[in-house]
Each structure stands twice: as C-alpha cells, then as structure tokens.
Symmetry: C2
Subunit: 296 residues, 2 copies
Amino acid sequence: MPEAASAPTAPRGTIGDSEFDRDTALSLREPGVYDIDLSAGWTIISAVNGGYLLAVLGRALADALPHGDPFTISAHYLTASQPGPAVVRTDVVRTGRTLSTGQASLLQYDDQGKEIERIRVLASYGDLGTLPDDVRTTAKPPAIPPMDHCFGPETASDIRLPSGGPAPVDGSSAIADRLMLRLDPSTLGWALGQPSGKGEMRAWFGLADGRDPDPLSLLLAVDALPPTAFEIGISGWVPTVELTVHVRCRPAPGPLRVSITTRNLAGGFLEEDAEVWDSADRLVAQSRQLARVRLG
Amino acid sequence: MPEAASAPTAPRGTIGDSEFDRDTALSLREPGVYDIDLSAGWTIISAVNGGYLLAVLGRALADALPHGDPFTISAHYLTASQPGPAVVRTDVVRTGRTLSTGQASLLQYDDQGKEIERIRVLASYGDLGTLPDDVRTTAKPPAIPPMDHCFGPETASDIRLPSGGPAPVDGSSAIADRLMLRLDPSTLGWALGQPSGKGEMRAWFGLADGRDPDPLSLLLAVDALPPTAFEIGISGWVPTVELTVHVRCRPAPGPLRVSITTRNLAGGFLEEDAEVWDSADRLVAQSRQLARVRLG
C-alpha cells in the first residue's frame, strides 16, 4: 500500500505509519545493503540530526540481524551528512541465541559519485520482549514541570535566541516541525540570555504527529534537545564525535521525558548523558555522547 | 633491548617498561595486523579481564592511526577470550587533522586454527597534548578514605567472599597480583555478607609495579574493580556486552581514584558508569558499560 502509507490518512501517526517511519524507511538493494533518501525534514539549520541518522542505521541493523531491538548501539560520526541519497552497508559480526552484533556504515556520494562514509556503528541487538520484568533501580525520573508549564518551539523562539548560535528550537529548523518538544523552563535560561551555568537540559519529547515511542525512536530522542552547552553559556556548534545508546525497555505509549546532563567540559570536549523515561516511569534508554565544542 | 626490557631491572615499573607494557606489546605481522600472546597474568578466575583486552586493542589502534591517544573507544564483547595467541586486525576508517577513527578486531583460534572474533571496537583518536587547558566541570572527585583506610586484595579475601560468585579480589585471580587496588570499605559490604544494596564501588587504583597511569592504562582502570552487582547483592558473573571509554585528559603521575555506579538493573542487564580521577584532581576518564547479569 505505497500510496496509502504515505498519505496523511489519520490525524495521528502510528508506529509503522508516521513521518518518522517514512523518513527512516530503507529499500533493500542487495542483502545487507540499503538505499535511503535522507529527509530534509530532520535538519537543524543545514545539518541532519544525529539521532535521526542513528535511527536510520538502527533500522537497517534491525533488518539485517536476527534480533530486532538495539540493546546497545555505538556510533562514531565521521563527516556531516546532507539531505539526499545515502546507502547503508551492514555486516553481521556475530549471531547468538539472545544477542547478535552487527556493524553498519552510512555513506553518501561526492561529486564524482564516490562513496564518503558519514557514520560507522557497532551494535548488539536482542529482543526486549523476552527480558524478565525485574527492575531494581535507584534512578529517579527527572522532575519536569507539567507539559503546559513547559515551552514549545514557537514560544521559545519568541523569547530570544542566543546570538551567534544555532537555533534548534527556532522555526527555521525543519526538525522543530517534526517533534513535540516542551522544554523545562528551568533549563531554558539560555533563551533569555541568562544561562544557568549548569549543564542540564530537560524536556517532554514526542513525535509531532503523535506516533508513540518505540526502540528506534528512542535513538532519536537522546539527541533531539538543544545542547547542554547552551546552558553552560556556549552558543557555538557542538558536533557529536561518538554517541552510544542503551535501550533498556520497550517504551510505553505516551510522551517521554528526556534529561540530559553535562558534568565535564574540558579541553574543548564535553560529554552529554541522556536518560529517557516513559509514561510508566520506566528508564527506557540511557545514552552518552562525546561532543566537540566549536566556539561560535 | 628485548632481554633488558623484559627483566625486572628496576624496582618500579615505568611507562614503556612494566608488566602492563610487556603484556600489551604487539608484534607487527603486516600493515595493520598484529600478533600478541594474551597474558594469563590478567585473568579473573579463568576469564581474561576486559579492560586489559581493551588496552591491547587500544595500543594496536594507537600504532595503526596517525593519532596516539584514544579519545573515545567503544568495544562490543562477542566471545570470551583465553590466555594465549591472538591477532588484532585494524582498519583505518578516517584520518582527519585533529581526530582519526579506526576499527579493530581481536581474534583467537579454534581447534582447527580458524579465527574466532572475541571483541570488535570502533574508536576515535586524537592528541591529548594539544588540547586547551580550559576545564569547566561540576563533577567532584569521589570521597574515598585515605589509602591506608582501604582494603587490599589480601585483606579483602581474608574477610569473606560471597558464596558462588567470582572472586575478583581473591588471591586466586592472577590480576590481583598486577594491580594496586585499595577498596573503599563503604563499598565492601558484599565481602562481609552485607551488601549495601547500592550499586557503588570505589577504589584507589594503580599498577602493582608502580608504573604511572597513561591513556592506555585508563582503559584497564575502568574495568578492574569488583562488579557493582556484588553490592546490589548479586554474586553471579556479570559479563560485559559493550564498554565505551572517553579519555578526557592525560593522567598525572600517582594513584588514580575510580568510582563506579550502577543506577538501573532491569531485565537482566545493568549499566556500570565509571569515573577515573588522577592525583591532580582531574577527571581523566569516563566510561559506561552494559553488562548482563548471570545469576550464580
């Protein structure tokens, strides 16, 4: 049903039939090799969002491996991706009973049609549905105010954006139209010209068309908030060097809460630790990235 | 000086001439391919320590890449390594001005001499010496009592080890002889049969022969303490699925402090977050691993 699937037949997106699903859909060229047209709908200014790209790679590996859920996926970002044609080449490293490991590369083409590698990932996949229900956690959900006390992209861009920096919540970023992002006002000092100095960013997160979260959309969620660097008072670009995500549980339907913390900015690099909580108060994903600070 | 280098000519190990250096030394078979005899000196019961293996892979990549320091290295552990012959195959993914990215595999041989992959890693390397000195951190060094108030392997194994579990601080583990490990008594309840229930493990860490830390030995330091699972009351084996280390600063001479935290044990998996601090109170490495809980 190619036509029906791409038409907005329902007011709500559903898993398998939403902007996110259409824009991460791959076509099989040959075993393990997939073509995709990277959507311009997930860009921040001109850069394609790293979380969207990770979801594309994660989806290719879910197809190539005998297990369907990313348990841990590590991505090293090599060169900046552009909207347009790309190819994903996967390699099955090992298949096991409960876990399988794979490798994937996202490549695009230069003027001569030569492949340029954008991202390389290693990942171990399993089946989240088979895990026992035991949970012993000391982690607590982030204290984010109710959604109607948080700021959407329109409101935040009305306030004031830091000069010189990218504006990930500004309407000029296509991704803002695809996300339901409501930022905790206590981590929004940067938008008022008064960054807190603390490396924290928190938000309610969903997809704008209402599609519920699944393990693949969690790969987007961990990298979709404004950089914590804004709250440290840095307004430049913060490109990701490496991002590893652990998916710990299949998320319940409904909005997610994402909390990102940076504790150490040193030597021009910083880490961003993200936690994603679902509507059932389960910690569904943890991630850490190493990013470079490019002063703007 | 092959003979002189392997003889204990000095009472103290030095960087380049210590047990750790000799046991991670690789011989070049052909460009990008290295042979090594994995030492039995870094085993816990019969398993080769994952941090030692990561240091072996990290050293191969330091040779294969134009940059010498691991900035971020992600390892997926596939099958259990054994002491004995192994080969490391490296692949240069991208070389850049400030960062280079490489891939490496550690392989051993089955009865028919066929290669079996043990670990695959992706890593981005740079030069820690060129980073600016700026540090803006909210992270604080862990509060570990002075070294003479902490417990060495001998003392800890005298107390009592949990039944059924591996005994990483017991004298039966060869690695105990190679490490200077002094465990914070407040995270040693498990050895007294009274685990705290908190997923915390802290220790002073060094190499037994007094060799000072460097970026490669940090890859060992993040995975050398008893598992946090012991303090949660789990005495089984906790094999690593994936381990990512960020080296943030070249460590100052002297002992390191290592603090490991587990916040979420769920569905039979847990994360271990490690921080490593040097004698100059700099946060020199951060790591996170996903590990499986195998009930003992």
